[in-house]
């Protein structure tokens, strides 16, 4: 149960950090915030890579492959589109 307690502690603390950091994001950047945080939620790629690479069974390999594709769309699409948007905000005359 020790690992569970540590994990829950980290979960709760991370939510507090999230609230502190996100409340400082101005409304004008809320769309890039969503796409950028979306890219971060693609972090499940880490689990997906292991399932696709350890290849215990055909089923887990297929699940892993599908998860890698979904997570990678999320990661690459999310960070790229956020970058595209944020560069428009930075443009100066």
């Amino acid at each position: 149960m020790d690992t569970l307690v540590i994990s829950v502690t980290i979960f709760v603390l991370a939510i507090f950090v999230g609230f502190e950091v996100i409340t400082k994001v101005p409304p004008t950047l809320h769309t890039p915030l969503m796409s950028g945080s979306n890219a971060i939620s693609g972090i499940t790629i880490v689990g997906a890579l292991l399932s696709a690479g350890t290849q215990h069974t055909t089923l887990t390999t297929i699940l892993g492959f599908a998860a890698v594709v979904f997570a990678m769309i999320n990661v690459v699409g999310g960070f790229l589109v956020t970058d595209r948007m944020l560069k428009m905000f930075r443009r100066k005359h």
Partner: protein, 463 residues
Amino acid sequence: MNVLINLAYVLASALFIFGLKGLSHPRTAVRGNLLGATGMLIAVVVTLLNRQIVDYTIIVAGLVVGSAIGATLALKVRMTAMPQMVALLNGFGGAASALVAGAALVETMLAHQRAPVDMLVATGASGLIGGVTFWGSLVAFAKLEEIVSGAPVLFKGQHALNGVLLVAALVFCGLIVWEPANTNWYWILVGIASVLGVLVTIPIGGADMPVVISLLNSYSGLAAAATGFVLTNNMLIIAGSLVGASGIILTAIMCKAMNRSLANVLFGGVGAVAPSAAASADAVYAGKIKAASAEEIAMVLENARRVAFVPGYGLAVSQAQHLLRQLADLLEARGAEVVYGIHPVAGRMPGHMNVLLAEAEVPYEKLLEMEEVNGLLPQTDVAIVIGANDVVNPVARTDPNSPIAGMPIIDVDKAHTVVVVKRSLSPGFAGIPNPLFAADNTLMFFSDGKRAVGDLIQAVKEL
């Protein structure tokens, strides 16, 4: 080796936090996003060093396919279509989490390892949240892309059915804990969650989409955090809770901006039927509407010292953002001050209008929040409403029985002159007439948004 991998994960988590912190100002935001991406790159590279990986072909294939699709989407998407894009990305994040949790369950059972209860509970949570997120997001995508009607879909017993499905989903979560060796329970759970995801999203109408997308954004993070509990990976837990918190904050902001509770948005089905209590359109509009031509409006703009544009979803639909910026340039060249008033729920997602106007190279300093622009409006000569309706409806302040009662609005009616660009007098999403259109200081300009702004540019040039 494991220690190094875990330390690298801590570094990646820190970079995610710094990345989000960078988004607190447009100047630092690009760098912040790059920090986040760097964290992700570190996480991926370090994971690939794991010795348990026996073969890289499938991994590389997945990375290439996913990157190609992701990059194509990101580089091709129009700024007006950003809500759909974000909805889709939310869904994919949820799907990935559900798939990873499922694969982890299958692997644990195959290895005949004892699965701790908390891991099994987390697996159930991943499957449930991931399934709801994926299918809910696909429905939101289809509504925004207008593949299906954006109108709320309501049927008798909808809430009861959703309740039954939720209970069934929780029962299957219990079965996963009870008999983890039977992995079918997990896939049945994902199936139920999928149906639930569709059913909870179809009753939500177009203008409530900002809330739904924010909520699904939060779910995609929570699904990732649950998967972190499945894999006992703290980086997933941290990243997932950051995203979860972000989505929850945006959801709360959107609800507050409509003066509605989350429950009311999710279950209310607002916009499905015209409220009978509201005054009829005829009574509000009869004989009081003043339609104006581009030339007449140009004459009003001729001596304006301050002009405020108030855009809504109609701006995105007609793609008028670039022309609007040109009109602003012309007015500024004539000595007027131009500002933009942005209501939090204008458009189909948080910050939608800001992105459109940034695309048209409007400096972000001119994009004012609701409170800020409301302070300026009494000293504003002309307020031009383009493609917005409910967010400028004064009934929100005056009629406590109205469906939008108490919703904070942009007080354009306090400007000396109001110009409303609109195709017709049709009501907005709330289905109620807008007395602003009949006010003494309002001029209606009946036209398509883009054509209207083009005509105004022409007329101002000819002054």
